[in-house]
Amino acid sequence: MNELIYFFNYVVVAGSVTGCIYAMGAIGVTLIYSILRFAHFAHADMMTLGAFVVLLLTLAFPHAGDSLGLPTAIVMLPLAMIFTSLVAVGIDRVFYQPLRAHGVKPIVMVIASLGVTLMLQGLIRLFSGTGAESLYVEARKAIFRIELPGVTRPIIITEPQVILFVVTLVAVIGLHLFLTRARLGKAMRAMSDNPDLARASGINTKLIITLTWVIAGSLATLAGTLLSLDVAFKPDLSFFLLLPIFAAAIVGGVGHPYGAIAGGFLVGFAETLAVFNWSVLLRPLRDSLPSWLELPNNLALVGTEYKIVVPFFILIAVLVWRPTGLFKGKVI
């Protein structure tokens, strides 16, 4: 039983946490792709930027959240989401829009987004240094221990994780309602389906593009902040996020927001399961195993230092066997 709790804490909880983060990042990537038709490589850095803005705001007003009983970082989220969205829209206007107007190939947009990646990385590290920093400034992370009868090991879940699950659920439901009910949300899907016809129907495509950046920027801020709140803010966050969120978006079928959510959880759980040491679960069976079968201490599929291999392997597998993704994305 203890082993099962261990499994729950280290796989179910951890996998859900990573899954939520990747899903929110991948939704942004997939939305930008479906409206603007290019892979936006600076997205992981937008997640970092959002978290960094929250860090700055939290440092400036460390006790803003006390009266609400929430971590200050959470209270600062809306402000940071607005700021990051503005930055995203600004980057689009200054850097991407002129290239679009020139009618460049998508690959040039990709290189431009790599340029934006470097700019954002440089800026963030210029001001933050390179060390890790907790988003709990002058406060402590609450950790919930749930004791089950008959087991010694408690289920452990932290406050940021609970907030993350709630926020992800709200964000996903909100996005779903927006895309299926709101006039602009439907227009967004229409533009992703057929941009020329959307224009010919009188849909304001500029507005839709702005809206896309706002949604993607806000989700990026949410994901980046909640990840940093759970662990710590690191300026090289984007390095660990880039490959998984793209793998998630591609697994789900590029241009397919619900696919991105599924892809995010798939990649998140695959990573967690791959680095999980399975010999812990098999330990109770050790005595009943035949003597010739010696159980190694380390039965993890890959070491944590090779975690990056997991999303890459998933990516390659999808590209080889099903390039349109599990949910039939738009374009190969």
Partner: protein
Amino acid sequence: MPLLEAIDVHGGYGGMNILNGVDMAIEADEIGVIVGPNGAGKSTMLKAVFGLLTITGGEIRLRGDPITNLAPHKLVERGMGFVPQEKNIFPSLSVAENLEMGAFLKPGTVSRLKRQIYDIFPPLYDKRHQPAGELSGGQRQMVAMGRALMNEPSVLLLDEPTAGLSPRYMNEIFEQVKRISATGVGVLMVEQNAKQALRIAHRGFVLAAGQNRFTDSGEALLADPQVAKSFLGG
């Protein structure tokens, strides 16, 4: 004053002239049909009217106002609807959502107009929650026309609405075009099925090499032995 009027229109793609002086005029409740051999500039003319290519000479007027080389979305605001030949629906949106997108500029009128469209195209009502991409070719064409009508256009441009459809659907589409025109919408369409299309046409324009060859009422053109011989396959 005609609803839509084109006077001596010249234009083409990338410096190559395809239209060499086309004249056209239709009234508010008329159906105008453009026919002619391949490469005569039929679709090009329709695209020129809708601002999709640059007109280098001549003029286009809507109710007497010059609209030459206005951007498509400006024309939509002025009450022009355009149904392209291909890619004329939003495949992953439901039928109802497709129609709503047509009325994007007039969100207040959506439910009233949707009812009207379902009256014109009854098969769409049953499929209104289905993704438009899953419908049959004829039904897609209905969705496309319905989408354009949602903006309450005064003139509707149709680019080969019956291309690739079975004869049964073709007749149905022509019936519906007649019904649309009866509500006071001017229709200008390009057609490959020249004979059938001219039967419902008030005005017919036979183009060849980017110029009007014959211009008359649909009936008169059908009766003209020269037109029949050179353009309607005897």
